[in-house]
């Protein structure tokens, strides 16, 4: 029997718990800063006293943070949650089940959010291209050659973009493809060894 302290009715506490975890994730990982503690308490645990709710939120937030930081797989999660149910002031097995289900559904998305949060350099936000037939040029020999015009939107997350517009003839595209193949080879080698 888990040594859990007084908290809002355990059995029906499971439904709001799932929603609470969602609310915590929205604020911590999905950037919804307007999901406040007050809002969550009012919506999910209206009968709970503020300090009681704060403690619950802090505990659940802490657990979720540990799980997300370690990007736990099924085995790690099971071991972790089982340990938590055996702790003084830990969680009930019902709560453990809710947390496990939540993590299963949100793991990929939360991890992606954490990955994005640690990307501080320029990223390629968007890319468009078209192929033109060059009809005018400084060079006579470039008339009627097809060229690709590529527009790349570059910028840091959450900051203004820079638009880069580049011309590629067939040779340049080949050059690019050769280098990209090299990258792909390296990536394959990397994912095979990890």
């Amino acid at each position: 029997m888990a040594a859990a302290e007084q908290q809002p009715a355990a059995a029906e506490g499971c439904k709001p718990l799932g929603a609470l975890l969602n609310g915590i994730a929205q604020a911590a990982y999905y950037g919804k800063a307007d999901i406040t503690e007050e809002l969550l308490r009012g919506q999910l645990y209206p009968e709970a006293a503020p300090e009681e709710f704060r403690a619950l939120r802090a505990k659940m937030g802490g657990l979720l943070q540990s799980i997300a930081s370690a990007d736990m797989d099924f085995n790690q999660l099971e071991a972790f949650l089982t340990a938590q149910t055996k702790k003084q002031g830990g969680i009930t097995s019902d709560q453990a089940a809710v947390i496990a289900k939540f993590w299963k559904n949100h793991r990929a998305k939360i991890h992606e959010s954490l990955v994005n949060q640690s990307c501080w350099d320029n990223v390629l936000k968007n890319m468009n291209w078209r192929v033109d037939l060059k009809s005018q040029s400084r060079h006579i020999d470039q008339i009627n050659t097809p060229v690709a015009i590529v527009e790349m939107e570059l910028g840091r997350n959450g900051q203004e973009s820079e638009f880069l517009c580049l011309e590629f003839d067939e040779a340049k595209v080949s050059q690019m493809l050769k280098k990209l193949s090299e990258i792909e080879e390296s990536m394959t080698a990397l994912t095979q060894t990890t």
Binding site: L114, A148, L154, E167
Partner: protein, 187 residues
């Protein structure tokens, strides 16, 4: 900027003028001011990329104007002397020499519509890394590739643009270029 020319040693200045005229002759896509600046700084010369870019623009304008007006070497030197009296002697010598050797082959198109409005892709460098952990996540473990594109802008200045891609983003990038190649082939 003209006084900055004073600090550039003759051989570097000659190299710069060579690149400029080769760019005007469409032999190279642009002038690699960043690379030149790095080498100058390594030699202990105090100059930054902006200074070098300004000088490049001035010389480029000089040569292209001379080409448009079919100036002989002597005319060019005379015009230069009238316009810029503070040019060091070695700089004038270099300009005279470069123009003498290659000035005739610079042809300026009269049609402004044929001026490029897009940049030219020159080269791509890349590196593959794996982000292991961060302050917000101890187990990140995501591979990403950083690429640096060397591009020549319409005026001929070569700059580097770099950005990161995750594996899915890279795969999409690669796929787009394959599609481009396919279309270019069929046109």
């Amino acid at each position: 900027a003209a006084d900055k020319i004073n600090v550039i040693p003759q051989d570097f200045f000659a190299e710069l003028c060579e690149q400029i005229i080769q760019h005007l002759n469409h032999k190279i896509p642009g002038v690699d001011t960043v690379e030149l600046c790095q080498r100058l700084q390594t030699s202990g010369i105090e100059v930054n990329v902006d200074d070098l870019a300004k000088i490049t623009n001035i010389i480029s304008f000089l040569f292209s104007t001379a080409a448009r007006n079919n100036l002989s070497t002597e005319d060019l030197v005379t015009a230069l002397g009238n316009a810029v009296s503070t040019l060091p002697k070695h700089a004038v010598q270099v300009i005279r020499h470069v123009w003498n050797e290659q000035g005739k082959s610079v042809s300026m198109s009269d049609d402004p519509a044929s001026m490029a409005t897009v940049g030219q892709f020159v080269d791509i460098k890349w590196k593959l890394g794996v982000a292991m952990s961060s302050d917000t996540c101890r187990s990140l473990k995501y591979p990403y590739v950083t690429v640096t594109l060397k591009v020549a802008d319409p005026s001929g200045q070569i700059t580097n643009k770099s950005f990161e891609m995750t594996i899915p983003q890279f795969k999409n990038f690669f796929r787009q270029f394959k599609e481009m190649a396919a279309v270019l082939e069929t046109v």
